[in-house]
């Protein structure tokens, strides 16, 4: 099910002009960083663990992961063209220097850091309060400050940096770390398990509905560093949480690697909603630079009637390679995946989801909207697996692609693997382009082609945008408009 479309004369020239707009978050914060020298071996792992004063179990866990990773080879199955990455040339730890003695509160944080967040529009200070959002901002490898920790603590919610959790809640970390994404899961997950430096940790106790949206903004800053965060969210019986993740990175000529691991665990009747807006630097119009975004995200719907929903807006990165997945182990559990993936210029996106039905009467729903412009390639890759015991399993997949211009491609790879004849698995797929008639109609009413494109794309994505938390939906819409500004002339 692969389709691409031949060049279209009237719009070609305008298109070419239009597809050139600069990345808006491409500034570098000038603060001194303290980094480990490039390279990766056992001593690197020991150094990371020592700097972070980690307990024994974690050091051993990291060392075991390194061993597994050393025995693995780079995966090559995705429909991606990847320039070789020299993993020995990367530095595996980078902390802004002024944070060496850890800030006690936001007031102690280097104003330049906060300024960076200002530019990114991260509501760390006042805006956080106004929006009622608790933000855990990750700046390179060290978490800068966590707002609202106290208010959350009052209801028993733990929301902190991963490092903080390691120091203060080691029993939870030890119990759940790697329980959804094992070290051996894949090459980059193994690498992350060995070298991860920080990330976010969320624990929602039994019966608690988290009183606010939790939000984490990630940003890759230091040159030549990879970012390997680790996110772990645990929702106890009957609890609920909505977690937002936003990502940007500065503009550099070399490719930077981002290999994160996210693990979610939902117990009986728990609900986890995880939303991502990813706007890493995509590289320039010739495909130079940009982030390699290789992320393993998986949720375990462990309990009965538990529910996990992934929503993602992927507009950045040179290469996006991720499949937020749900393992539906509890009876009557459900998984959802709503995705908008935009690729422009020479970006490549290979993204989708896996829904693994194990429990009885489990349901999953997939809505994927892929948008390609310029010379970009956009692939949806999804797996729906119905195991032998998954009596009454149901899946519905809807997968739509929108092409802008004549040099891009959209591809759909839906895999279905069912061990039961009573499973209901439905798949719908469409590929369309921004039709000249719709564009002309908008123009005839006075709307210029750029705004018309953003309107039409917004409409195309509406079903996914509706799934986003309100304040995020507005941001996502703006981001879509920015990413595709001028994609049609």
């Amino acid at each position: 099910m692969t389709s691409s479309i031949s060049p279209d004369k009237p719009q070609e020239e305008a298109l070419n002009q239009a597809l050139q707009r600069p990345y808006q978050h491409g500034f570098v914060t000038d603060i001194e960083s303290e980094s480990l020298p490039p390279g990766l071996d056992e001593s690197t792992i020991r150094a990371i663990s020592r700097i972070k004063k980690e307990p024994e179990f974690l050091l051993n866990w990291r060392l075991a992961a390194l061993k597994r990773w050393q025995g693995m080879t780079l995966p090559e199955w995705a429909r991606l063209q990847i320039a070789p990455i020299d993993l020995q040339a990367l530095s595996y730890y980078s902390a802004p220097k002024s944070l060496k003695d850890k800030p006690k509160s936001l007031d102690d944080v280097d104003p330049k850091l906060l300024e960076t967040y200002e530019k990114l529009g991260v509501p760390l200070h006042e805006r956080a309060k106004l929006a009622g959002v608790a933000v855990d901002a990750v700046f390179d490898s060290v978490s800068v400050g966590t707002t609202f920790r106290q208010q959350l603590a009052d209801v028993g919610v733990i929301f902190c940096s991963f490092s903080h959790a390691v120091q203060n809640h080691p029993e939870l970390v030890e119990k759940y770390l790697g329980s959804v994404v094992p070290q051996s899961d894949n090459y980059y997950a193994a690498l992350n398990s060995a070298v991860f430096s920080d990330g976010s940790f969320v624990y929602i106790p039994k019966g608690v509905k988290c009183p606010m949206e939790l939000s984490s903004y990630f940003r890759i800053n230091a040159q030549g560093t990879g970012q390997f965060e680790r996110t772990l969210i645990i929702a106890e019986e009957g609890s609920e949480v909505s977690y937002l993740e936003g990502c940007t990175a500065p503009q550099r000529d070399e490719n930077q690697l981002h290999a994160a691991v996210v693990e979610l665990i939902a117990h009986d009747d728990a609900y986890i909603k995880y939303s991502t807006v990813q706007n890493w630097y995509p590289g320039d119009e010739n495909g130079v630079g940009g982030i390699y975004n290789f992320v393993t995200k998986r949720g375990l719907a462990a309990g009965k009637r538990s529910r996990i929903a992934w929503t993602q807006i992927e507009t950045g990165s040179a290469i996006t390679w991720k499949y937020p997945s749900c393992v539906l182990r509890g009876d009557d559990s459900s998984g959802e995946f709503y995705s908008i993936a935009v690729s422009n210029h020479r970006q490549q996106a290979d993204t989708g989801t896996k829904m693994i039905h194990i429990g009885k009467n489990t349901t999953s729903r997939i809505v994927s909207k892929g948008i390609s412009a310029g010379h970009a390639q956009n692939s949806y890759r999804g797996l729906v697996r119905i195991n032998t015991g998954a009596e009454g399993a149901q899946n519905h997949t809807q997968c739509d692609s929108l092409l802008i211009g004549g040099h891009c491609g959209a591809h759909t790879f839906p895999y279905v693997d069912t061990a039961r004849s009573d499973a209901m698995v439905e798949h719908e797929a469409t590929t369309t382009r921004i039709s000249e008639e719709r564009l002309f109609y908008c123009q005839q009413r006075g709307i210029d082609p750029e705004e018309a494109t953003s309107l039409i794309v917004g409409g195309f994505c509406q079903a996914v945008l509706e799934e986003l938390p309100m304040e995020f939906a507005l941001e996502a819409k703006a981001l879509l408009a920015v990413s595709l500004e001028g994609a049609v002339g």
Binding site: Y441, R445, G446, I447, D448, L455, G459, Q462
Partner: protein, 251 residues
């Protein structure tokens, strides 16, 4: 009458692909006046609308179309709309997922901005849109539905009229606005057109529907044939065409 025409079309020649559809068309339209354009299928009526509006497949290879002295032919499609040219589509397309009120407000504000007027916020817009919808016998709920998606033929036409009344163009070309409309709809067209004419908007109306043409009280009736204006007259011409058809005129 010696007022300056709001629209002056001069020797317009239009090609689609290799085919010349309009050979040479000239016409003057006075502010507030109404011209009825008739002609057999394929005579070039819709082509004139598409070419004036700037559809990318319709290539103007000669001539001019001056709207208040500005040559539309030289402008991109959205600039023509902002200059005050409105085309009501024979079959308006849908735009899935885009709410009608968002679409129309975006259009209206683009036009207002080009006239140095302040943009309308969602609230003010909704009030005037609801008022306009009511006058056209259009349920307000249609403002909240995606543009033309699942609309019947008549609903799409009413939606075109709603945009016409909100955008307040200087010249509007209505391409078979009556097709798909019920009796009330046609009556609404006549009322709207006459009201807008009184405010100075000029109309070119493509139609075969004599009863509506009579109600519109046109200033001029033109018959297009093989890409040229073959005949020019008043209501009598429309009546005679309605009575005997296009074939007789050709002879």
């Amino acid at each position: 009458m010696t007022t300056t025409p709001v629209l002056q079309v001069r020797d317009l020649r239009v090609e689609i692909g290799e085919r010349t559809v309009l050979q040479s068309v000239s016409l003057d339209v006075q502010p507030g006046s109404l011209v009825v354009l008739m002609g057999a299928n394929g005579s070039g009526k819709s082509t004139l609308g598409m070419a004036l509006a700037g559809h990318p497949s319709y290539h103007v290879t000669a001539g001019q179309a001056l709207l208040n002295g500005k040559d539309l032919v030289q402008l991109p499609a959205h600039e023509r709309a902002r200059a005050g040219f409105f085309l009501s589509f024979q079959s308006p397309p849908d735009i899935p997922g885009v709410k009608n009120n968002l679409f129309i407000r975006t259009a209206l504000n683009a036009v207002r901005e080009s006239r140095d007027e302040t943009p309308l916020d969602a609230f003010d817009f909704l009030n005037s849109a609801k008022q306009g919808a009511k006058e056209l016998g259009m349920p307000a709920a249609m403002l909240g539905r995606p543009v033309n998606e699942g609309f019947s033929g008549g609903e799409r036409k009413r939606n075109e009229l709603l945009q016409l009344t909100l955008l307040q163009p200087r010249v509007a070309l209505l391409d078979e606005i009556d097709s798909g409309l019920d009796v009330d709809g046609v009556r609404a067209v006549v009322e709207l057109v006459q009201r807008m004419r009184a405010q100075g908007t000029a109309f070119i109306v493509v139609s075969h529907y004599l009863q509506m043409i009579e109600s519109l009280q046109p200033d001029q009736v033109l018959r297009l044939d093989q890409g040229r204006i073959a005949e020019s007259g008043d209501l009598a011409l429309a009546r005679s065409i309605a009575e005997t058809g296009f074939a007789r005129a050709k002879a």
